[in-house]
């Protein structure tokens, strides 16, 4: 084990800004992309549902 304490882990031997800046932005990107896709899907589904129910009423 490289680390003796959590503080040492977060300090990353003085490279905290660079290491956490890399991992943080990557994690954020990998979380946001699927969230946006879920939103996109639910928007399409909602508009399709609206279209179909409008069609049913007109028949």
């Amino acid at each position: 084990m490289t680390w003796n304490s959590p503080a040492e882990f977060f300090a990353m031997g003085g490279y905290a800004f660079y290491v956490w800046g890399s991992f943080g932005v990557t994690a954020l990107a990998l979380l946001i992309e699927p969230m946006l896709l879920k939103k996109r899907r639910s928007e399409v589904l909602r508009s399709l549902q609206r279209e179909l129910s409008a069609k049913e009423r007109s028949q």
Binding site: T2, V19, T26, L30, V44
Partner: protein, 246 residues
Amino acid sequence: MSVITWKYASPQYFYPLAGKMIPWFSLLAVIFGAAGLWLGFFVAPTDAQQGEGYRIIFIHVGASWMSMFLYLVMAFWAGIGLSFNTRLSSMMATALAPTGAMFAFLSLWTGALWGKPMWGTWWVWDARLTSELILFFLYLGFIALQAAIDEPRRADKAGAILALVGVVNVPIIYFSVKWWNTLHQGASVSLTQAPSMAKTMLLGMLMMALCFWMYSVAVALMRVRAIMLERERHSEWVANLREVQP
């Protein structure tokens, strides 16, 4: 075999199959990601020259590989769509572009954050960095070009030409560190030479690369499903889906 393959080339059959595959690829991404982070932060030793700063390698290399690999996959599907007029192939190419662009951005971003403490600069106009930046612009160009054309099948064709021409940039990125003198170090993993880094470092890097790969499959499938619904909204198979019933 070929009957089965062709069947899934149609959106109607591919849509539910993709839906079933998404959770499995997401699960694999989480497993590989957890293993990679564990190896990267808790097992891999401190680097003799770069201290703890080198740990950026665990995402930088995987993100760079994915940015190049996804471009090739995107160009492949775009090319298939162009030659055989298969609409699902073109939709797959469109679905891959934003994820590829994201990995190209992450490659540049983590590279800048690694370059600053080690080289003393965020950016240099050398061959490796510049060709990766061009890859990022190629992705953006592909996305913008397709967005600018209203008719989807024409957008597919125009995008495919751009994607195929841009393929020339991928070997340039890959071999740039061999062909030119650059600040960037040589290839991290070579098929012809014994690995130069500690085994645990290499393994952590590969795990993170696998995590990004599985993640890319999962999100590309999510996006292609949304694209199928958007483009084929007036077709019967979409109207018959259980999830669109009012």
